[in-house]
Amino acid sequence: MAKKVLIVDDEQNIVISLEFLMQRAGYEVAIARNGEDALEVVGQFRPDLVLLDVMMPKINGFDVCQKIRDNPDLQDTKVIMLTAKGREVEVAKGMALGANSYVIKPFSTRELVAEVQRVLEEE
């Protein structure tokens, strides 16, 4: 059974590119356009991994990450933060909140796909 990936980003075109890349890699994909949607979808869709953009209106990526980690049902869900601000602070914050990894925008598509696979294979 194919692993499930939830893509969370408010930039339409980035979502399109991520969706294409994840489907090509053989994952089942769901999409959320903002933090609220993401929290809703994550409970139903039960993804194995969430590709989570940090800079979003209303509920940002950090908050979403925290909510996921706070939910005992979602303990196994992996999170990769996508951040346009490659600042160490942000990376550190994301990791501290329980993200499994991070990818800095603009990213190399191959590296992104490899990172997703690597995180999903982690135990």
Partner: protein
């Protein structure tokens, strides 16, 4: 016969009797507490003691030889009095505070209560006034002689000095005047009181002499002659007399200047003037009236001088009669005995007035500043321990009066007829002028010191003696005439009238020049070089700043305490016990003390006692008396210097500190504010950069992702490939737009924007903008409404930038207008030299709280239900910056759910007439980088690129 000797004597004594009555009456009134002299008119009249026998007889004599040459002596005081409001007020205030008793006391008090200086001033005053006294004796005895021998007139007047003393009228006149002065000036055992009776009598005398002179003047002018016109007319026909109408004989410019200067000093510093103006002053405010009454008095008494002089010369041609006696001889020659008698009384009043006041003031000085200090320092007499020193004081004063008058008589005998009345008087004027530097310096210059005053006064006095006093004796044969002609021992450089070869000046001017030179020079140089002692320092400050202080906070120079009993006994040596009691009770009341319980006298009370005592014996003696009685030295110089220094330093420091700390506080708050601003700016910059970075990375992320996808997946179908390529293109455009916007904004904000100014027709510009968007509007199925004025005035702006604003607003309107039945509306109108543009849409509208935020950078507020709004988030901020730059403003009006309207304004600016100005910039247009349009000044070519 009215003019028999007995009758003359009788009249004289009767007149003097009236004076006594007046003096007695006013003293009684004063004792009863209803002073008659506390009145500005009496005060002003008493100041007219300035007009003496010199004025009464001498002015006419002077006018007979020099025409208006008699005037400077009255012009000087008139000028000086104008300054009294400043100068004399200050002197009076100082004197009242320090209980000054004479001019010598004043000077010595200023320079550290110095006995030596007081003594010097006293000597100068006495020696200087002697010629003046002799002048009065001369005037009175001559008038006696004239009256006595009226039938023979002046031709056989006995020459003074030729008759023996016992047969000389002037000797008896001197004795009579001495008696008069003693009775008036030293009647009181209590020396501290003012001479109220004296002042009243002097004021009365001023009235008498004025009335007498006016009567004679009127008689000569209107009875003997037919008015002024007649006298002057007749005189004009005589070549000799007509000279008197010109300045020919009246003296040179230099002479006038010096004479006026002399008399300016005299009206202030003659001992009798100082006595009347300062010491006898009851109320400082009386000065206000005196300032105009005294000049008026002098004007009145001078009106008839020239008519009498000319009348006399016309009546007695060829110098048959001494012009100094015209006032008497004219009425006598006409058989007008009553008028002659009146004139005689007038002259007598003028002379007695001067002599009385002068001798009283001199005797005060001699006793207080010369004799007392010597006696007090003279240990074996143990004077300080004697009771009732007041009696000793009075005896000294009486003796002084007699001595001064006798000296005057001696001088009169010695100089004889060698001088006119006026030149004798001027010698005295020159002497008192020596006080001027020390006094003026004393009240306006804190640096002036004792040594300077001492040296300046001595040097001035020596020069005065050598160049005026001694020669006046020499001319009368007391010294060999060669002393004047070829100098002492034949040394021509030392000729008294041409010292060091300075010739060509008249003796008075010459003497004044040299004496003032050494006096002022010595005073200033030594004051600048030398140091002040402690007392001097504090007195100098007190004198100069007298208007700034109150008597309560004076500096205490007494350290010790004493007993009230001791102080009381000292005071009672000079002042009546009743007065002492009053004064002490007064003090006790003010300070809440009770003498029956408190016997310890602190420094303040000792200070008070010193000032009380100073009123009797002068400040120098008072200090010595108290110092010996309190049995402790006054605070040592070092201590006082230290105290003074410390006090002033502490005050100065604390003031400085206060100022400094305020400055620091201000600087700190400014710094804090600046720092906050910097921090804020820094934060804003960081925010901006990170926001820009984010905004740039977003399109870049898409571009890179799709480029790689296309590159790595050659198997993609054409549709998908086309879709991805379109995304790349769109994101590239977005990136370009963003970069341009960021650059624009930073240029505008840093002032490096290049503005290309041209005349802009806004209507045309809007139509062009609409035309370029025609396709988009049509595709969006949007209705375009326009409401524009047919024609609007030009403005001056950057066409491209305004177009950018317009396009931005239109694009927003198109983007946000209703999806189904969208319309946009453009309005343009002109009002009050302002162009108004409005762009409306029927979109969702903007929440009130977002209406300002949308103009901030990267603060888009869009329909966030599904996705982010298109655009960079910099459009509106840039638009606002552009509009503001051209002197307009951009704002939004919106009701949520009912669309939004963006308004912007631009000022009407007419381009310069010169077409070249359009390219070079507009001479009338300046756009402030603020909200208001400021259109003055010139737009230079270089200022376009800002």
């Amino acid at each position: 016969m009215m003019l028999q000797g007995g009758i003359i004597l009788l009249f004289s004594l009767a007149y003097i009797g009236i004076l006594f009555a007046i003096a007695y009456y006013s003293d009684k009134r004063s004792d009863a507490g209803r002073s008659v002299i506390s009145n500005p008119y009496i005060y002003s009249l008493s100041l007219a003691v300035y007009c003496t026998a010199w004025t009464f007889y001498g002015s006419v004599g002077r006018a007979a030889s020099t025409g208006i040459g008699f005037l400077p002596i009255y012009l000087g005081p008139t000028l000086m009095i104008a300054l009294w409001y400043l100068v004399m007020r200050k002197i009076i205030r100082i004197s009242k505070y320090n209980r000054i008793t004479s001019i010598a006391d004043f000077i010595s008090s200023r320079y550290g209560k110095s006995s030596s200086l007081a003594g010097l001033v006293t000597v100068i005053a006495v020696v200087g006034i002697i010629p003046y006294i002799s002048l009065q004796l001369d005037g009175v005895s001559t008038s006696f002689a004239v009256m006595w021998q009226h039938s023979e007139l002046s031709t056989t007047l006995p020459t003074p000095g030729t008759v023996d003393i016992l047969g000389d009228t002037s000797f008896y006149v001197a004795l009579l005047l001495a008696l008069f002065a003693i009775i008036f000036g030293t009647r009181h055992l209590d020396t501290t009181e003012r001479h109220e009776g004296l002042v009243a009598a002097i004021a009365f005398e001023s009235v008498v002499k004025l009335v007498a002179f006016l009567v004679i003047g009127a008689y000569v002018s209107f009875v003997l002659f037919n008015g002024f016109g007649d006298i002057f007319g007749q005189a004009a026909q005589s070549p000799e007399l007509s000279k008197l109408f010109t300045m020919e004989n009246a003296g040179t410019y230099t002479d006038w200047t010096w004479l006026m200067f002399l008399s300016m000093m005299a009206i202030m510093f003659l001992p009798r003037q100082f006595q009347m103006t300062v010491v006898e002053n009851v109320n400082e405010n009386h000065l206000d009236k005196a300032i105009w009454l005294l000049p008026l008095y002098m004007l009145l008494i001078n009106i008839f001088v020239l008519p009498i002089a000319l009348g006399g010369l016309l009546l007695f041609p060829n110098g048959a009669v001494d012009a100094d006696t015209f006032v008497l001889t004219i009425p006598i020659s006409q058989g007008q005995e009553e008028i002659a008698m009146l004139a005689f009384i007038g002259g007598l009043s003028a002379a007695t007035g001067m002599v009385i006041v002068a001798t009283v003031s001199l005797s005060t000085m001699v006793s207080n500043e010369l004799v007392m200090p010597i006696l007090l320092h003279f240990g074996p007499l143990r004077l300080a321990e004697r009771r009732d020193l007041g009696g000793v004081l009075l005896t000294i004063r009486r003796g002084t009066i007699i001595m001064v008058l006798l000296l005057g008589y001696v001088y009169f005998r010695l100089t004889g007829n060698a001088y006119t009345l006026v030149s004798i008087g001027l010698i005295s004027f020159a002497a008192v002028a020596q006080f001027a530097p020390a006094i003026f310096g004393g009240i306006y210059w804190k640096t002036g010191n004792h040594l300077g005053a001492m040296v300046g006064l001595s040097a001035g006095f020596v020069v005065w003696s050598y160049t005026l006093f001694l020669p006046s004796l020499a001319e009368s044969g007391f010294l060999p005439p060669s002393f004047i002609e070829s100098g002492p021992f034949g040394i021509t450089l030392l000729k008294p009238y041409a010292l060091f070869g300075l010739s060509g000046l008249d003796p008075i001017t010459h003497s004044l020049f040299w004496s003032m030179l050494v006096n002022v020079g010595g005073y200033m140089i030594l004051s600048l070089v030398g140091r002040q002692s402690v007392i001097e320092h504090s007195q100098a400050a007190q004198f100069v700043d007298v208007f700034k202080q109150t008597p309560e906070n004076d500096f205490r120079l007494w350290r010790s305490t004493s007993s009230v009993t001791v102080l009381r006994s000292i005071l009672e040596q000079f002042i009546s016990p009743t007065r002492v009691n009053e004064a002490l009770n007064d003090y006790a009341k003010k300070h809440g003390l009770d003498w029956s319980k408190d016997d310890v006298a602190d420094a303040a009370l000792i200070n008070y006692t010193e000032r009380l005592l100073a009123g009797s014996v002068g400040s120098a003696s008072a200090r010595v008396l108290l110092a010996s009685a309190v049995k402790e030295e006054p605070v040592s110089m070092d201590e006082v210097m230290y105290m003074l220094d410390e006090t002033s330093k502490v005050i100065a420091y604390s003031r400085e500190l206060e100022i400094k700390s305020k400055e620091l506080e201000q600087a700190t708050s400014e710094l804090t504010a600046a720092n906050e601003q910097l921090k804020e700016l820094d934060r804003l910059k960081d925010d901006f950069i990170s926001t820009v970075t984010h905004e740039l990375r977003t399109p870049l992320t898409s571009i890179r992702a799709f480029s790689e996808i296309l590159h790595d997946n050659p198997d993609l179908d054409a549709e998908q490939r086309g879709k991805f390529m379109a995304i790349i293109l769109k994101e590239t455009e977005r990136l370009t737009r963003l970069i341009n916007n960021v650059l624009d904004l930073s240029k505008i904000e840093s002032g490096k924007m290049e503005w290309h100014l041209t005349a802009v027709d806004l209507k045309e510009l809007i139509e062009d903008a609409l035309a370029s968007l025609e396709q988009v509007i049509k595709e969006g199925n949007i209705e375009l409404k326009t409401d524009m004025a047919d024609q609007v005035s030009l403005t001056v702006a950057d066409r491209d930038r305004i177009t950018q604003v317009m396009l931005n607003l239109l694009s927003n309107a198109i983007k946000f207008c209703d999806n189904e039945a969208g319309w946009i509306k453009v309005q343009l109108k002109e009002q009050d030299s302002t162009l108004n543009v409005a762009v409306s849409d029927n979109g969702p509208g903007i929440k009130p709280e977002h209406q300002e935020i949308i103009f901030e950078k990267f603060r888009q507020v869009g329909d966030t239900l599904t996705e982010k709004p298109q655009g960079t988030g910099l459009g509106l901020p840039i638009c606002r910056q552009i509009v503001t730059y051209f002197g307009g403003d951009l704002r939004v009006e919106s009701v949520l759910g009912h669309g939004a309207t963006f308004h912007f304004t631009l000022p009407v600016v007419s381009p310069a007439d010169d077409e070249s100005g359009v390219e070079a910039g507009f001479s009338t247009a300046v756009f402030a980088n603020g909200k208001s349009s400021n259109r003055q000044g010139t737009y230079g070519k270089e200022s376009i690129n800002r």
